[in-house]
Symmetry: C2
Subunit: 210 residues, 2 copies
DNA sequence: CGGTTCCGAAACTGATAAGTACCATATCGC
DNA sequence: GCGATATGGTACTTATCAGTTTCGGAACCG
């Protein structure tokens, strides 16, 4: 697991004396521009000049905050991750299906051009930097599998599904297939797809009595 | 679907007259070297000099056959695809589990450093060239899902699984989760993993009576 | 004010790598 | 043999781009 909220952005360094203050709003502008460019031309196509132009920022302004291009991109990915929030509290509808459907929130669907593009670019990042793969896996995949496993385990405890259900394995299905769908198939991850997964694969697999 | 056997390799051009013949064995040597380099340093790290050195070939020899670096790489990927063969005939063991397990062949496991590396590099290629994603999907994913769907459908016809089983959806599970596992999680796709998938997800999902 | 640090913009530097040109040599058809 | 085209090797050209520097100006602090 990865520490929450860490980023590669330089904290304002040792201020010997006064001087113009760093404009904190430029940080977000630059990160947003980075995500835009990432979605449009991908990781390989992204250049610092492109980002600077998009953000109407000087490159010095960027390099004052992030020492390398990769620092910038990783921070941008972390920023985007904050939009993919998990529910602060697990849904508790009384039925497993209700809980699983309740986990799907509009913010987490991947059906816009930009989100789709950024996710595709993330595939490149992951492929290029194996170390990053772990981070992305930790911040995107693991939490999802974890909450699903939680609601499944609860359903097993209250007897809704048999004790033989392989919760540990089945809880990986949705995150895996959603990732595959967006990264390789490049198709949207919308409500019908996810609910179809729940009804046609996950619930039948868990309900099977062996 | 993609036409079988097409490649970007230049056919020997208009032979006005005699001259030394092109050595066809260099084609495979160079493609093999390309896959080696791809597995070791990935798509972004691959340079034509690296490939030439590995193949003990001159760059002119390479560029005489492939006009661009991407042509070469795409051809190498196509060559590798030929190793991932499907069984020429569907297994028919009498049980669904037997058939599914019978589809797993040693050549299709992804548990070597080289295969793992090439698959990771393919992720980069796919991310960079969306058009290629379709090709990879067509030649790798679709055939697998298709043969699985075939054996599942047969099991449904003979009453081994209920008619309500969502064969179309479940047949995608194995290919998706295997691809996700190797590309994102970078873990081996070996027999225990695939059989676990069959026993813990696929068969329970298909056997569930609804 | 004045020193300091910021800002956007643009020019510059240095490294990397695709693709080409050329070499000496080898092998083909005639 | 002879011309044509192949081979591995190397040097070259050219473009791109990360990262640095410079510049005119703006904002902060005392």
């Amino acid at each position: 697991m990865n520490e929450e909220g860490q980023d590669a952005r330089d904290a304002t360094p040792v201020r010997s004396r006064g001087g113009r203050k760093r404009d904190p709003t430029r940080d977000d502008d630059i990160l947003d521009a980075t995500l835009d460019v990432l979605a449009e031309v991908g990781y390989a196509g992204l250049t610092t000049d492109l980002v600077a132009a998009r953000a109407q920022a000087g490159k010095a302004t960027m390099y004052r905050r992030w020492h390398t291009k990769d620092d910038l991109i990783l921070d941008a990915v972390r920023k985007m991750k904050r939009d993919f929030t998990l529910p602060d509290r697990l849904p508790d509808t009384g039925t497993l299906r209700g809980d699983l459907v309740g986990l799907i929130r509009d913010e987490n669907l991947i059906d816009g051009d930009r989100t789709l593009g950024v996710m595709a670019a993330m595939t490149e990042v992951v492929a290029r930097h194996p170390g990053i793969a772990d981070t992305v896996h930790d911040i995107v995949h693991c939490p999802w599998a974890a909450v699903q496993e939680a609601v499944m385990r609860r359903a097993r405890d209250r007897g809704e599904i048999p004790p033989s259900a392989r919760v540990e394995t089945v809880s990986q299905v949705m995150a895996s297939m959603a990732a595959y769908r967006v990264m390789i198939q490049r198709r949207v991850v919308d409500r019908p797809f996810l609910e179809g997964l729940i009804d046609d694969v996950i619930l039948p697999a868990l309900h099977a009595d062996r």
